[in-house]
Symmetry: C2
Subunit: 498 residues, 2 copies
């Protein structure tokens, strides 16, 4: 059985390849037109009307491809849900993408409107606009489409739609049941998602979750991501005199909140960046097999150092991918008094450090926050959850106000999951290239609670170029990535998992 | 000789006291009118025309009192100089005050104009305006005159003028030669003063310098100040990635500049606020006699702690006055990334600490800065005087940019100086109260270079109330302090030093 399936697989893949110019290219042309239409509908989740117009467009496009569609009501915007008729005995894949985009600041874009797609070709270190009509004569995979959500995340939705066209043209029988869930407020943290998954659990039931969001690895190779770090935050404030004081009159008499804060922070890490708080890295083990996969990621630590311009990285891991397997403790902000030209000769009244803690599945956010707080207490500080009253100030020598942020958990699917193997092998054969396997990404995705709630294996299969200016002005999608995504979805949805 | 002089002294003082209501009170009434006129002339040193109008007023007023006056040209505004005919054999006192005032923000004052004096009487925790005409019927020493420079420093100039009226009315022979130098840009740092003293050294020659600026001790007792701390500054900047990076992607990989800075700062002081940099306190000794004078200052450490709302002061000295005998190391500002609602999940590109170092005569500012820099080098940092280039970033693991501020030296006259004894004893007898002797004030005065250049004993004899809102909106002078100042100048200038 397995042998026969592999044979079919091989034929299917090689067929696609040989037809690349004949079938894929016209499909890419179609997807460019469709993406322009889609981008033309503004999609800021702050505007419910924008979201409604996008939902309308999606309903039409998925219906054309034979899907049944529904709007799933949530506490805010509805989710878009589409499914092909279900067949018993086939595994079900749930595909997650989002159609909302980051808010735009049109003045910062090098084009008339972020919602009016512009075609550009690369010139040395920059891009130059060329007429969209040029596409009628020829399509160059290095050209790019500039516009909000071309990459994040309307492009991948269009890739999926066009993959279905191709599958249909070729009369493919799909080995999967397909469910598609499209989020209308991912860029605004997808707050309604966890409650929605509880409500629509039966509808969303699947064997695995495929998330087509974010860029491929910086090497531009096919990529499968197995997890994302979570996040929580802490804000620490130490206190000097109740109001800023003249540094002549009270310097080296009134307590200095900056020195207190510096001593507190300095005690949390060694000079090479490793957290010294007891238990912070507890529970993290990396097997040899996992270590080998981490090492196989084609990062260049040298290139990162060169790009970010530092000589030595912190020593939490011995290389970049290894560092990401551990929770971080990052000072994202410091403030006390004034700096630069604003500096004035005062003993400031307080000093604040903003910390973020990126989490891995082994490091529960609430546990880590508790460890940090115990550590602070052990340094002789009295912890408050509010600014101290006069009485508290006069009672305790060292006071710190600790404000805790909410916790977004990490998620991580085992590297040896069978659907993970299926994704990696299929992509490898489709593109005839090694697939980059990322055990856990450094960043945090707002759908992590949704993933954890579903309790099914989840994978991010990114479709877009790494240099797409996601979240920024001049967001763009390389046309070659449209072809890549159509081909990736085509391969993934037409290949039978073994 | 000495016995006879002491006898005269005693008579003179007791006479003044008995005449307080007969002669002093009308003089206070006159001084109120004169101060209103003077305050009515705006005196922001940013406006040369203001300064000229004040110089004109001063010339008229000092000429009326028999002074010869001159404008001493400097690289900016002229200094006002006045002297009474010199007599051989008498010691010479040089009196320094300033007639410019801090810039005003009229909207922040509780009166129509900061230059139009308003009379107010105290009511619980506040003041209430009363008509100026009220003064024709009676004068209450608790009433206050509100206006720019009523205290800082036009009030004391008017006190001096009126003290001369009183001395004249009583036909006193002055045991001193008197020179008066009035600064027109003290609030703008008196930049031309050091060069001016070099140019006019002969004219300014004197046996001692008396500075009538600033408020009396917070106990409101008569005060003589023997010195002021100096100041210099350092700005330290540490570096992370060349641009802020996503804290998910690069947290615990890219170096965090906040932790570096915290570790650097934490290494400079112990947890009780004592500087641990080698040699920082070198050369400072306090004799038993000096220690007794420090202890005699009626500070309430408890009251300071209560007012500034902290439980424990730093431990550089065991009490407030002792702490001031040492140089300080103060973090006046910290900045990195953003804090509070602006906080964002980044690894910041840099972190900056602004330090100020208050100096005492034993701690040369350049020596201290060198010690701090050696300490930084010993922590493994490469010091730059500029933001690092890419090459420097890739060459050194730990980089700190150190920017050095200029040095304003401290000044301090010996506590056992004979003119100091004269001032203290005369004030003690004039007011029948112990005189607070401040060995060194915490703050820095811009005339310190001038004092050090003159190389004569210098004393600050403050005349105004401690709660005068100097430098702030609603600056004021207690009318009782006008009487105090006239009496103080009267006693000091009519008493023969023994």
């Amino acid at each position: 059985m397995r042998v026969i399936l592999l044979l079919i697989l091989t034929i299917s893949i090689s067929y696609t390849y040989s037809q690349d110019s004949l079938l894929l290219k016209p499909q890419v042309a179609n997807s460019i037109n469709e993406l322009q239409d889609f981008v033309a509908i503004p999609n800021d989740a702050l505007n419910a009307n924008d979201i409604q117009r996008n939902l309308f467009w999606l309903k039409e496009k998925f219906t054309q491809r034979g899907f049944n569609t529904a709007e799933l009501e949530t506490e805010n915007h509805p989710l878009f849900f589409a499914t092909l008729p279900m067949e018993e005995g086939k595994p079900t894949v749930l595909i997650y993408m989002h159609f909302d985009g980051q808010s735009v600041d049109p003045g910062k874009w090098n084009q008339a409107s972020p919602y009016k797609t512009v075609l550009k070709q690369p010139i040395e270190n920059d891009f130059e606009t060329i007429p969209l009509e040029t596409l009628k004569d020829s399509i160059d995979y290095n050209w790019r489409l500039f516009g909000r959500s071309t990459s994040d995340d309307k492009g991948p939705i269009v890739m999926l739609l066009n993959a279905f066209d191709l599958l249909k043209k070729e009369g493919k029988t799909l080995p999967f049941n397909i469910k598609v869930i499209l989020d209308g407020e991912e860029e605004k943290s997808s707050k309604p998602l966890p409650a929605a998954v509880k409500e629509y659990r039966e509808l969303l039931e699947a064997d695995f979750l495929l998330i087509a969001d974010g860029p491929v690895h910086s090497s531009a190779k096919p990529t499968v991501v197995y997890g994302c770090r979570g996040i929580t935050t802490l804000s620490l404030t130490t206190y000097g005199p109740v109001k800023p004081q003249h540094s002549g009159h009270y310097g080296n008499y009134a307590p200095n909140p900056g020195f207190q804060l510096a001593q507190l922070l300095a005690s949390m890490k060694d000079t090479e960046g490793r957290v010294t708080i007891k238990g912070y890295y507890d529970g993290i083990t990396i097997s040899e097999a996992e270590q080998n996969i981490l090492k196989s990621v084609p990062d260049s630590n040298q290139a990162i150092a060169e790009k970010l311009q530092f000589k030595s990285a912190e020593k939490v891991g011995s290389f970049y991918q290894e560092a990401l397997q551990y929770p971080s403790l990052n000072i994202r902000g410091l403030g006390s008094g004034w700096i630069g030209k604003e500096a004035r000769t005062i003993v400031p009244a307080s000093a604040t450090a903003e910390l973020d803690l990126r989490l891995v599945p082994e490091s529960d956010g609430n546990r880590l926050k508790k460890l940090v707080k115990s550590h602070i207490t052990n340094q002789g500080y009295h912890i408050l959850d509010h600014a101290p009253t006069k009485e508290e100030r006069l009672t305790h020598t060292k006071i710190v106000t600790v404000l805790e942020g909410s916790v977004t958990d990490a998620f991580r699917t085992d590297l040896d999951n069978e659907y993970g193997d299926f994704l990696v092998n299929t992509m490898k054969q489709a593109f005839n290239e090694d697939v980059v396997q990322i055990r856990i990404m450094g960043g945090t995705v707002p759908i992590a609670p949704f993933i954890n709630e579903l309790q099914i294996p989840a994978f991010i299969v990114p479709m877009v170029n790494p240099d797409n200016n996601q979240h920024s002005p001049n967001e763009n999608l390389k046309i070659g990535q449209l072809a890549y995504g159509i081909k990736a979805f085509y391969a993934l949805l037409s290949t039978t998992p073994n």
